[in-house]
């Protein structure tokens, strides 16, 4: 059925579907790895190597 849908709606549909699934999958692994948490902390390592990463998380967590 899935193959029929892809055949019917053509190659752009296939490319689009595969791209979407790949983006979702990669993004999901990135979420799981918590890589995104490093963004915004780029100066942390440079300026505050004595502090732990979790320490910064705590200090930034309060609004």
């Amino acid at each position: 059925m899935q193959e029929n849908i892809i055949n019917t709606f053509g190659s752009p549909f296939s490319v689009w579907l595969v791209s979407g699934l790949v983006i979702l999958l990669v993004a999901w692994f990135v979420v799981r790895s918590k890589w995104y948490a490093k963004i915004g902390k780029d100066d942390f390592k440079r300026n505050n190597s004595e502090k732990t990463e979790s320490g910064l998380e705590d200090s930034e967590g309060s609004a």
């Binding site: 709606f9 190659s11 752009p12 579907l17 993004a27």
Partner: protein
Amino acid sequence: MKFATVFIIVLTVFLALVLYEGFRSAAKNKGEHDYLVAGRSMGAWVGGASIAATQMSAGTFVGTMGIHYLTGSSFLMPTIGIWLAFIFAGFVIAPKLHRYIDRRGALTFPDFIGDRYGQKLPRVIITILLIGAYVVFLSAQYQAGGIVFEQVFGIPFYWGSTLLMVFIVLYTVVGGMTAVMRTDFIQQIVMSGAVVIGVPFAINSAGGLANLSQEFASVGGDFAGWHYGWVDLLGFLMGFGFAAMVAPVLLMRFYAMRDRETCAKGSLVAVFFTMITFGCVAVIGMSMRVISPDLENADLASSVFATDVVPSVLGALMLTAVIAAVLSTVDSVLLVIGPAVSHDLYAKFIRPDASERQRMVVNRVATIALGVLPIILTFMQLDVVQFIVLAYAALIGSTVFAPLVFGMFWRKANRFGAIFAMVGGFGVCLLWYLIGQPFVSPVIPGILVNVLAMLIVCPLTKRSDPAVLKVFFDSEVAPSGRSR
């Protein structure tokens, strides 16, 4: 039962649910912080659905479905740009944005521009641009909603537009960001649900997959293939992508989400909802080419599908989805332009000593006024909904992109570069439209000039104040707890 009666019942249930959620959310508003950024308490599902719902406008169900009706499946490609934009915004921009918001207690997008580049000229430029572009954009949304009422009930579209305007302004003014995001979630479920249920009916009415395949071939070899060339598609993809990545109306969702992890997950949820919805819109649009090949206007594909092809209840749900798309976009825009007046103009320049209560009153009055203003433009009957959607997004993307991204990741980004980038990007993008969009989508030269202005002007001019850079780049800045 007549279709109009079924539509009234379905629409009434939907609107009652939205209104209930809007008023229920009002109880959570204890002040400006709750009203403008939902107390920064929103989760990934509500936040992500709100991003997707805000991105999807009436144009998704009317204009985009019409383009699939005319050209086939290749117009799906621009969606990839939107996904990448959501992911980039959620994973790269939002973490930096959250750290800045933590420190400055920012409540609006112009707050960012003001804090990073200067409280006067840069903030005024971005505020006025946002108000101007979004007001024009709202008129297109009102018109699209009014046309639905006109087609179903035969009433002049301006009555329907006015009715919608009153409804949206009411729950937005009462409930603030909490109401907007929670109702966006409901609206997104309606939008996705309607098209998902609609797909089997569309395929069945077109004679099944095997028949569709043959019919698509008879329409033309490129209908299920590459109608648009890669240059066109890349242009669309970048146009939609850059515009979505830095759209203040979407970034405000990240302001309202509770932390970085929620923002990242929220962007995933947004990709999920857009994937489902845009895919189904494409399938229905293409199937309609087989079911009703002789529509006088491709934009009629969605309404004809709703009224003539599917059972009344589903048809009513489809048209309700169009209304939901209008609601979810307009309420979000109102919560950008209302605060732009109260927070970024009134409280910064007119009455800096205004109390929070006064700012809230001005906010609500401005939201009502700017919600009503586009109706006047709507009565002028602007023709092409999709064009306006594309133009406003391109203009804002061309203005905001470099100041936002470079402002977060490049210490040398400064006020002079930002001003040149905003004015230059906007000007070139507008000029590109005026000369007929030669070669590429206007957002591409707009973004190019936006970025180049930043790269050229910043190194030649004075660097930003170290105190400003500390807020955005250093890790040891204590939260300021600014109240406005």
